[in-house]
């Protein structure tokens, strides 16, 4: 009963927070210099033309009026039309989201599993050669400069060795023919490999280090000593008693980074020409496409808020000591 009430309160909190962020975003974009037509440096456009375009986009109204219209539309499920695509923003986002989720969720989960597994070993064998190699490797991964690493990966595996395609999500040459679904699926996986590899290494470092330090803390706990005194095997102590508890902070971190992965590593998407939300976000912001930019940010806001809630609840479930 109590938990339900807590969840309900949290939900209300989240809703209020969401609308505060929505409002801030709305006015922030309009306060930024320029407008969607200011970049159209086409001398054939007369000032009257520009005025007409602005009026057609509804930007000639005072900001508060635009805000009321936006809120009204928002509640009827209308996020507006993109100024540049001319399409409903929701279509564009629904179109891009699967690509981002596919790539970033997979890479985050893979990196988390690998990070937990390797971090566990590193902590267990603290001070050994394995620990040194893993820790230094993790530090290296953690500090990688993404554009440089991504370009290097492309240059080596796609250009020099030719094993993988140079970015994109599919090979158009295959898709313009009537190719079977199975081959198309393989084609997507083939394209996904390099960005996945890049993101995997970039995320791996932080998970590994997090797991290692958390595990080291847990190993000093008294219940581990008790477990040893009971004569349990190393494997059982490591995997069942220590690692489970040590993985808690990693789960929080994964939860949040899964949420943030919605915005897609914009840089990674740009270099691998991955048609996800991140690229759209860059385009929308730099071209003052307010409806599109707002929708992208709102999506991220919503997912992060919800993920926060889920992580909180998950914590309580996994660690009985925590209760709300």
């Amino acid at each position: 009963m109590k938990t339900k009430k807590i969840i309900f309160n949290k939900l209300i909190e989240i809703t209020i927070l969401f609308f505060i962020i929505l409002t801030v975003l709305f006015f922030l974009f309009r306060a930024a210099p320029g407008d969607p037509v200011s970049r159209m440096v086409d001398p054939t456009l007369t000032p009257e033309d520009i005025q007409l375009l602005i009026a057609q986009m509804g930007l000639d109204e005072p900001a508060w009026k635009q805000y009321i219209i936006y809120i009204k539309n928002f509640f009827s499920g209308n996020l507006g039309h993109s100024f540049h695509y001319g399409e409903p923003v929701s279509n564009i986002i629904l179109d891009r989201m699967p690509c981002t989720i596919l790539l970033f969720t997979t890479s985050t989960l893979l990196a988390a599993f690998a990070g937990v597994f390797l971090g566990k070993i590193a902590a267990w064998k603290k001070g050994s050669a394995i620990d040194n190699v893993l820790s230094i490797g993790a530090l290296l991964c953690h500090t990688l400069f993404i554009p440089w690493f991504a370009l290097l990966v492309l240059w080596a595996f796609a250009y020099k060795l030719g094993w993988f395609p140079l970015g994109g999500i599919i090979s158009p040459e295959l898709w313009i023919n009537d190719t079977s679904f199975f081959i198309k699926m393989l084609d997507v996986l083939h394209h996904m490999f390099l960005p996945l590899l890049t993101l995997f290494f970039i995320h791996l470092g932080s998970y590994l280090l997090l797991m290692r330090s958390s595990m080291l803390g847990v190993l000093k706990e008294e219940y581990i000593i008790t477990a040893r005194a009971k004569g349990l095997s190393d494997k059982v102590i490591r995997n069942k008693h220590a690692a489970r508890n040590a993985a808690l902070p990693v789960i929080t971190s994964v939860g949040l980074s899964l949420a943030f992965s919605i915005n897609g590593g914009a840089l990674t998407e740009q270099i691998f020409t991955w048609p996800g939300i991140g690229r759209e976000l860059i385009f929308a912001v730099s071209n003052n496409d307010y409806p599109l930019a707002q929708a992208c940010f709102l999506l991220i806001t919503a997912v992060v808020l919800i993920a926060n809630l889920i992580v909180d609840l998950l914590y309580a479930y996994m660690d009985p000591r925590i209760s709300y």
Binding site: A32, P47, Q51, G86, L151, W175, I271, R279, N288
Partner: protein, 590 residues
Amino acid sequence: MSFKKNLDRLFKSNLKRVLFTGLLILILGMVLSCQKKEEEALLKIGLPEEPKSFNVWLASDSNSRKILSQIYQPLYTRDPKTLKIIPWLAQKDPVFNKEELSYTIKLRPAKWSDGTDFTSDDVVFTRKLFLDFQIPGYASKWKVIKKLDVIDEHTLIFYLKEPSAIFLSRVLTTPIVSKKEWEQIAANAKKTEKPLRTLQNHVIEKPLGTGPFMLAEYKKGAYVYMKKNPYFFGTGKKIGDYILGPYVDSILFKIYGTSDVAILALKKGDIDMFWWEIQPGYIKDLEAQPDIEVFLNEKNALYFLGFNLRKPPFDDKMLRQAIATLINKEFILTRILQNYGSPMHSIIPSGNTFWYNPDVRRYDVGQKDEDRFKTAHEMLKKAGYTWDKEPVISDNGIVEGQGIRLPDGKPMDNFVILTPPADYDPKRAFAGMMIQEWLRKIGMPAFARPMSFNSLLDRVKGKHDFDAFILGYGKLNLDPDYLRTFFDSKNDKPRGWNMSGYNNPDFDKIAKKQLSIIDEEERKKLIWEMQEILMEDIPYIPLYNPHILEAVSKKRFEGWVEEVDGIGNIWSLCMVKKNNGYSNNMDKGK
């Protein structure tokens, strides 16, 4: 038991074999299906970004326009070699009637890509669409037409309100759309609260055009696939100096998020051309590649330093002239542009040979640094400028001046030269810094400040809140009427094109007059006079005109058509053909 084990083993080994064979078939299938397309002449072009819309009234990004320019065609176009206006969808030059102020135009027998006829009705409909919806960029041009009469299916008479020098070059070069495609959409849009927006937001999946290619498939975020239009009116005909194809069956536009990756794709042979400007830094590497050809062409562009003439100190012509003398254009060209460009001495680029006036006043030519500083120093002194500590200019160098004062005795306030940021355009950002240094040497408190492009335009064009700025037009029209657009005092208003606030009644008069002169030689005299006035008053100091660098792969295709602004044009796509000899050699090499 042993029987079961054997069965298991058999099954497992068979499973492996089946899986292995399956995989082989898959790979073979992938390779074969790729090769099948290779046999057709499939031209692959890399784009730097995805086209945003195929609605011709909305698309303002260059990549959408590249695709749409293969589909929607104008009545007249420019010959890539002579740059003269030649008939395109029209059959021949228009017949001009001076008394009636009318142009009779005969259309070619052409078809839309769905096989229906292209007729006079489509032209009439296009005009109606422009005017009904006040379509930006088009309506203002077509307003000059008083009446449009249809004589028959392929003949039209345009009656003008007043003589117009740009009727042929600017009005008749706009794309014509199909009545069949747009009639219903327009009717529906008209009923809405915001008709233009509704028209622009209408999603066009298969644009209907008369051009050499038609859209076959568009996969969002991945590619655009165009096929040869079987009804293209130009196929097999000689237009300009070219017997038009297209000689390729289809074009595949692929998208690359960064130039680095696109250039790797070009080198690897994944694409045959990258339709985007290449920065000079890549050129050495590309030129060393045996399969890559680099094209270097003049642009019809203008990069300039502009002043705010509405307030001191730049309301003083003498100060602007002195600054023009101080700027070393040769330095900017050789050091910043690495010689990939030409210097500019007038607002019209020298490549636009017919309209360019080579005899305008020049400020910096052929002078050593010290001499330029001496001349500028004297010019300023003569105009009444004083210094707390005068600059000392000798052959041994320059000792910076300090505390420059305006002719009225007031100290010159710090002023800012706004430039786009270096990540947007390093050339303009560095040119701004160099200019700041030259001006400081003579004692002017100049500060170059890179600023985001949006903010820069907002300050300069929207609010007129600036001192000086460096901007550029990457692609000017070949018709010089933009002189009027940029400097007519009527356009000195927020968001207007007269960003400097230049106001010269004599100039305005000539600018208006040239617009109504149809005789080109006569008009040329006025255009030359306008350039003389501008270079004397110097609201803008023209700085440079960069070259456009582009690269293609020679492996599979040849025959690119070069013109001002490069090889990315409809002529190239109509003329490029498979390079069989080269491709065979390549295969043998493998």
